[in-house]
Amino acid sequence: MTDAKLTHFPEDLSPPRERPWFFSILIHVALIGASILMLYPLLWMLSGSVKDQNEIFGTASLIPSHFDFSSFPRGWFGGQVNFGSFVWNSVVIAVLSVIGNVISCSLAAYAFARLNFWGKSFWFALMLGTLMLPYHVTLIPQYILFLKLGWVKTMLPLVVPKFLAVDAFFIFLMVQFFRGIPRELDEAAMMDGCSPWRIYWRIMLPLSLPVLATAAIFSFIWTWDDFFGPLIYLSDINTYTVQLGLRSFVDSTGSSDWSSLFAMSSLSLIPVFLIFLFFQRLLIDGIATAGLKR
């Protein structure tokens, strides 16, 4: 497998093979049916947020008898701390994580892909080894470490590790991409007296925007969706992320206010959904590439 390019899917395949028209229709019917099944739960949640309390359960219909948007302000302002604070905390953590991951992983990836130094293959093997190590092993000592540093109950344990390239997956993805960039480019630059730093900054990074964007997007989505990290490290409700806020909302409202629970759940998915809409191609290429590398 060439490890250079992200595999791009042609939107229209080479000439469709001849097949009876009814067979085509059959496939589309199956696919549309499956699509409805896939989307139904999400649409049900969305429609639940504008339905009347009694209407959410007991009917499978997606269309409410009348639209009631009051669930959104009720959910947003209803809790002990309003939802905007959770959103803000999540955004800060996610944005810092993106910056940290992109910088630290690309630095390491550049060293592994392009520089020669004593012990490189040894470190590279160790880096690949960390890909397979489940986080449970390091979880408890890390917690103790952050506790001793006085970082527990702040966002530092969630953000600082991202600046230390702990997500080996991104390093791996970037190494594969960097290796595909023609060597002549940085060799020529080196002849002209460019320092490794300049080569990294002026040549590698600008040419690697697709893979950097892929890493940034996944990094954002994973941090946004992360529940376990915040659950362990954040205990003050003012520092809660959206995921924690949503869960405390489930507990505090108990079995009363379903529509505002659905409203807040739907809102919490919006950033990921928007990123998905705009960067679908990059996400899909990223997943596909990761799976085809060995």
């Binding site: 489940p134 092993v137 390091t138 408890i140 085809l292």
Partner: protein, 311 residues
Amino acid sequence: MAIGANAPARVTTIYKAPSAFSRNAPGYLFLLPWLIGFFGLTLGPAIASLYLSLTDYNLLQAPDWVGLDNYVRIATADDKFISSMKVTLFYVVCSVPLKLTFALLVALLLNRGIRGLPVYRAIFYLPSLLGSSVAIAVLWRQIFDADGVVNTLLWYLFGINGPSWISNPDYSLYTLVILAVWQFGSPMIIFLAGLRQIPTDLYEAASLDGASKVRIFFKITLPLLTPVIFFNAVVQTIDAFKAFTPAYVISSGTGGPIDSTLFYTLYLYQEAFGYFRMGYASALAWILVIIIAIFTAFSFLSARYWVHYDD
């Protein structure tokens, strides 16, 4: 010629071999953040975790050396370890093959030069992308509630009075399996990419020889796809062992009813951050690592017999 003879000598006098330091320094400088992270957040903690697993430690008093006691207790006297391991294994064994089967079937359907491919691909991928968030777990809890939408549909379509899925220990784990299967999108995309890599001339040659579609699938598509199937199986299994959020949210952190959704990770979390038995939880973590490692090693060994590499 005099000039020609002199030239190499001039080059050697100008050229100065770089010192070991200046040859290696840039590499290590670029690697510095990763090195700090590796020693400080991965290797160091991993060694510390191994040590802690041989102690009793509650964060307040100094760790108390107990040797292999934690492991002995896990192996012989811990009902919750056994039940959580059973739940996790059941979850892995049920959800992974189903998920991969759906992923492959849909990928095959989509790989037939179909109109609207990007739209279908997006729709099938969306649930996996949203998958790990709390909102989805909350949604699942409501869907499978006693008066949730699943039971409403069962009533209208078949006249069946469905059980209260989430609070019935006979069914609660199945709802989590269904949730996992619903998220077949990312293995599907990897399958699609894998299907694209199969050279079309193989298909052309086979159909010229008059091979049937079924035969082409089993003799060409499936064997050439085995590396991708293997990758997906390993990754999905490791992920399934690590599943946490849905079980936590659906059971409100308890793993109930009667431990039917007590995933291994949830049990580990309870021991570590519920009871602050850090030593015991570290031992649990190492057992998980060993189980995942055994599984992975076994997959790689078995791969010799069924994974087809053409190089």
